[in-house]
Structure formats: C-alpha cells, structure tokens
Amino acid sequence: MNDLTNPVEVLGIDAGGTMTDTFFVRADGTFVVGKAQSDADEANAVLESSVDALAHWDTTVEEVYPQMVTCVFSGTAMLNRVVGRKGLRTGLIVSKGFEDFHRMGRAIQCYLGYAFEDRLHLNTHRYDEPLAHIHDTRGVTERVDSKGGVVIPVRLHEAREAARELIEQGCKAIVISFLSSYLNGTHERAVRDVVEEVKKEMGSDIPVFASVDYYPVRKETHRTNTTLLEAYAAEPSRAILSQLSDRMKEKGAKFDVRVMASHGGTIGWKAKELARSLVSGPIGGVIGAKYLAEQLKIDNIACSDIGGTSFDMALIVKSKFAMHQDGDMARLVLSLPLVAMDTIGAGAGSFVRIDPYSNSLKLGPDSAGYRVGTCWPEGGVDTVSVTDCHIILGYLNPDNFLGGILELDVPRAKQCVQDQIATPLGLSLEDAAAGVIELLDLSLRQHLRAMISAKGYAPSDFVCFSYGGGGPVHAYGYTKGLGFKETIIPAWAAGFSAFGCATADFEYRYDMSTDIGITEESTEADKQDAINTLQAAWDELTAKVLEEFRINGFAPDQVTLTPGYRMQYLGQLNDLEMDSPLKSVSKAAEWDELVGTFDETYARVYADAARSPELGFGITGAILRGSVETKKPSIPHEAEGDATPAASAVIGERPFYYNGEWVTADLYHMESLVPGNRVTGPAVIESDATTYVVPTGFETWLDGHRLFHLIEV
C-alpha cells in the first residue's frame, strides 16, 4: 500500500557485524524496522533488510526508494578491512630516520583495546601488522622543528626516487607524513607534487595523500595512521558505497547516500575524509538519543546500547555529548574527533565459560556474533552463549527469533548449558542459566554506574535510554536499583542506531592544531597575533569544508558554518572543545570573549572552584563545522488511550523463570499495543526485531511517542 500524502522520506541503515538494520520513516513519523543477516555483499544485505522492513507496509523497494529524500549509512566493512588487514597496499614516505615510528605504534598500540587483565599481562601484548609495511616505507631527508621552522630543506630528488620505487614495488596508494608538518606543510606539499609528477611519468594513477591536506594535527603517529587509513581502508569503501548507491539508483532512488562519521555528523560518501566513518554504528545511537531528548525536552541522558557483542554507554549532559579529540579504533591511535563512549566487550551474544579453578562463570570476551549460540546448530557454535540462556528461561521466543528467520534447536541449547555450566557448578539447568543472566546484568550495571560516577554525576540526574537489539531484554536488569529518574525504551530499540543516523546533520568537520598561549603578561600585540592565528586556521578549514560540500553539490551560501576551538589553562593536560561565541575574529579585544566562553564551559564540566585563570589560556586546536539542512524523521505523536491493552494485543503466555521460580508471563504483540497501555510484569512484549522483558516487580506503559517507560514497583 502506498500512501502519496504520507510518503516514506528517511532511510537509516546500520550494517553491523551480526545484523543489517534498516529504518524507514514516513513524513508523519511512523516507521518500520527491517532486519537481515549481514552479508559480505553489503549492498545485498541492505536490499534484503529493506524488503523485510517494507513488507510491514505491504510495499516494495521499487515503490518506496523513489519517494525518499534522505539515506544515511553506517557499516562495519571499513572497520573489518582494517582489523583483518585487508586494505589497499599503501606506500609511506616519512622524514628520513623515522621509518620505524609507524610500526612502533607509540608503544601503546601493543595493548590498546585490551581488557584490563590483558593490559597488565605482558605476554598478551602484541603489535598488529603495520598498515604500511616497512619495505613499503621510505625516508626523505628534511626537517621542520617544533616551531615550524625549516632546519633541513627537503631533498626532492630523494622523494622522486622513493616514489618511483614504491610505485614499481606495486603500492596502490602513497601517503606522505613528515614530522611537524602540521606547523609547516611546505615540505609535505612539495613531496606530494613530486610524487604526482613521478606517477604521471610512470603512467600510474594511484591516489596520493599528504597528511597536511587531511589531518594537519599534532602527534605524528595519530596523524600518519589516520592518513594511512584514508588510503588503506577508505579507498575500497568508496567503491562499495558507489556500488550501494548504484544499486539504489537502479531501484529508482534519487537521494545521495550519506555516511555516519565519528564526529557525530553525516558526510557524503564522496567525502575526501572518508576514514571518519570507520566507526559509526554505536555513534548513531547517541545522536538519536540526543535528538529524541531534544524533542522530549530532557537535558541529561545516559545512553545504553546493548548489541550482540558489546555494551556501549555515553552521557549527554545539558544536551551535549562529549568529544574525544584523539579517538582510538581498531587498536590504532587516530587523529579523529570521536563522540566519547565507553564500551565493554559483553553483549547479548557473549560466550559463557567456567573458570575451572575458581569454578565461577566468565563472560566473553568473545561472542557468538551472527552465529547466535548453541541453539542455532547451523551457526556451528559449540560454546554456550547468553542467548542460549535467554531461550531456556523463556525470555526469548524460540519460534519467533528475529521474526522466525532462524530455526532454533532448544533441546540442543539445554543440553549444552547442562553440560558446560549447570553440571560443573552443581546447579539446576534453570539456576545455571539464570546465573548467567544475573552476572551479565550485574556487570553492565556496575559499568554504567562507574561511568556516571567517574564523571562526578549520580544516576538520579539522568534518564536512561535503553536500545540496541538486546536493550529491551536487559533494561530491567542493568538499571535495577541504580536510581535513574526514568528508563525509556523506544519501541524501535532494535533500529535505534539506524534511526539515529537518520537524525544526524549533514555535517563536515575539520580540525587543525594551533599553538596559541596568552598569559597575564601578554601584550595587546600578542593577543592580536593569537586572534590572527586562530582566524587564519578557521579560514583554511572553511575552504576545506566548503570544498566537501561543493563535491556534494551544495553552494557556499547553503552551508551554515560553526567555528570552534579547543582551549585549556596553560600547563594543564586536558583541553575542552567548544563552539566559538563569535563567527569570526579580527580584534585583540575579542580574545576575552573566547576566554569567557571557555571559563563557563570549564565551570559546567568540572566546577567553578576548579577554574584557574591565573595560569593563562592556550588554544590547542581550531575546529570548523559546516552543515546543511536535512530531512529528519519526526517522532510519532499518537493520542493516549486505555490503560488496558486490547485483547488482540495478547498473544498468549509462556513459562518464564525469574528470581528462582517459574512463573507464567503474559505475551503481548508490541505493534498491537497502543499509547496509554500499561503492562504489569511478568510479561514479555514481542516484536519481530526485538523482545521487551518486564519481569515481576516491574511495569511499563507506552506513551504517545511510542516510547516504553519501565518502572520498578
């Protein structure tokens, strides 16, 4: 059925490791969620998932794609390419004598991303393969000092030789990254031009990347890694996104696919800096939570996203999420601004084992992923996963798992839990499975509490949003007793990251390091210099942002530019990022306004008393964000009805094990519940994409925005 007065406008795609979710929204805010198992061919999985979603509306891809105005993609293919080291063979040109720094990974990369025990355990430390092999690395004599002065002029004949060798060796891209190039990029640019010349002479058309053109920021390992990713991982993704875009165009799509980027905005798939989209799925959820909270007028949100493999948490304080300047991903330090998140490697699909010495349960760190657990024999998993326990205890419906696309073997799961967990621990099957769930809930609860209290807040200041495929199953467990103001579970929890992607602005962000310091002893002339330096940086970044939008067909006057900066009290290690109170600066007197905004931000993030203006102020980085208006999904608004669900919403009952006993849980069909309906536990609310568990001692009601409120009674 196609409704022309209420067209389908927005599509969000979250191509995760386990599932590919699609999220379609009509103009009035109604939506459907589609799921398909992820596929090596991402375009294919997206189409399958779209078909699944649109079946709910009895319509087809061919009918809907032409109506749509916005499509945002987030996926894991680029990340997998990096983790599996299956990228483009890339040559690296560095300052002579520094050929090894890339593979030394700042010494930190040997344990980055490890669990705490493994960080301590030297035996597990290990360097991954460098992105550029040492044999594909060349040094060129040159040196720029820490103030940007040229100490040794660049020897271009060496660069010429290096380029020729790298191309002859079979490199498919060349990256140039010199020491301190963010302060003075002339050497890098000169070498880039020479490489371009050599490449032409040799009849080659490989891409060439100079770090100064992409990420002109301090810390050469971060900068080099990030520029390398642009060649190594993002180049192949351009091809895949182009294929996805073509496949959608074949079905009549008229929109341009955008990609979720780590800074929380979306960028065109033709973007120059595509490496920014390396990790995007979990960020989509945070952006979605912020958008939803703005609509609901909630200031402080604790975001919790539980998927099959991980639990991601983020805080939104006074409607702002924090940014990490140097995010790390895939065990690489990077110069990418990244929405600050805490992640632990425990999810709804984590493996469960027993420590033979302490005889205690151990979750993860690995998980069954798309192979689900022992309950799905075709998945080939022999180790019990959390999902197996859910199936045994009646939390999940084995006949309607992921809408029934997988056929589950419950007796096999029972046998495995019995053999691997229950018998060794001397427990009954149910108690063993329940112990696993309790342990997971406890560990998630502790991490959530630790994340909030470590930042100096209390859960009672926050509303908790719970989403992700496993969010509604675990929400009661990991929020129990923490004292959140409220726990909210969107009916579209399973597609929430995809939803979030669709709410993100079309926004490019560029960063540049600056070395500006002003103390009480500085003169007006010093302040004027500082202002000039900052504005020069903004001008350079503006040109880059406008260029990105030009590639996507937007004129400069359509772009809203937001300059920002990172400031610190001189001598402190941490800086804070903020939007500039002034669109541009030219006069020394404006310095005080920049400082004023920093002082306020500092007092908000830390405390009034912690301010230290006597130290002086430094600007460590200039930031420029440019955005254009996009169509965003609206939140549904429905009138609230009766507290008692309609008889048609009740689909039966099921034995459910909670608190050491079997009880009978009422089963509801999620889509049949209407706003105002109230459900008291024990109950299980099922939909194709997710299952919402309301145990004894809890109740829930559905509001007019199709958000479930979970209440401890």
Partner: protein
C-alpha cells in the same frame, strides 16, 4: 572439566603455528586441566634425550628428571647438563660479557649502544653446542641473575598430581 584445547592445538602453540587470536585466548583464559600434560608431552616428543622434561625454562632449555638418578636438573636440548635445578644454571654456562665500545659496536651502530660503564650485556651459551640461552643487561657490578626458582612441590600439589621423587 575436560580440556578446551586438543593436544594438536597445544603442539601448534609450542611450535608457534597458531594465529594470534587463538594464542591470545589461550593466554587470557584460565588454563584448562590438560594444558600442562599436553604441553610437556609435546616438548618431550621433540627432545632427543631420554630424560623427562617437566618444565620449560627457555626455547632450548628445560627442567628435566635425569634418568640415571631422578635428580631434577636444567638441561640444554643437546643434552648438556647444567646441574641441579636449585642452583643457578648460568654459573655452568659459557659467559661472554660485552663491556666495551668495540664489543657493543658488533651489535649496534656507533652511539646507539649503552655506555658500558653503566650497562653491560652478559650472554650465556651452552658449552657443548654453543646455542645462546640467555642475555642479561645489568649494571657491570651486578651479580649473575638467578631468573627463576620454581616451587615444584606446590606446583604439583595445585595440579593434584604426585610430585617427582627428588624435589
């Protein structure tokens, strides 16, 4: 609980044939019951002498039960006997000390080696086959280091197995 890893996997671990993902998991997770048994079986199968290895001390150096008198000794893969395990095997090795610039420059480029008045390298070799078993990098006056003094009695108790006769 039975072993999670097979003898073949443990043998591959010793050989260095496993992918790091698996090695990482084997290192991080609690050791399964049969690990020691499989590990030592693998080591013993690769040794040419007829003494029984009961612990690894280096890539080519093991604690073994000497077949003639059941004493636990440290032994090179070539069969060279470094003596009873409670004393330091290094004192019975051939020792080469790099304690001047010339010796350091054999292994490092000029000025990239330590100042030998602060740090020297002591290399320990097998007197029979000449294989290098260990290198230590102490200050020049520091005594020969005794790297490990295993408590076999407790170890076998933890394992729930009878200990060798002459511990």
């Amino acid at each position: 609980m039975s072993s999670t890893y097979t003898k073949k996997q443990v043998a591959d671990l010793v050989k260095g044939d496993l992918d790091f993902e698996t090695v990482h998991l084997m290192l991080s997770m609690p050791k399964d019951e049969d690990r020691y048994k499989f590990y030592m079986e693998t080591i013993n199968e690769n040794l040419d002498y007829d003494h029984q290895a009961i612990g690894a001390l280096g890539p080519h150096l093991n604690y073994v039960i000497r077949s003639d008198d059941e004493e636990i000794v440290v032994m090179c893969d070539c069969g060279h006997d470094f003596g009873q395990y409670r004393s330091n095997w290094k004192l019975n090795a051939v020792i080469y000390v790099r304690d001047n610039v010339e010796k350091m420059e054999q292994i490092y480029p000029a000025i990239m080696a330590p100042d030998t008045t602060w740090q020297v390298y002591r290399e320990y070799y097998c007197p029979s086959c000449g294989i290098q078993h260990c290198v230590e990098a102490p200050t020049p006056w520091y005594p020969v280091m005794h790297d490990l003094q295993p408590d076999f009695a407790t170890f076998y108790e933890w394992m729930g197995q009878p200990a060798p006769a002459k511990i």
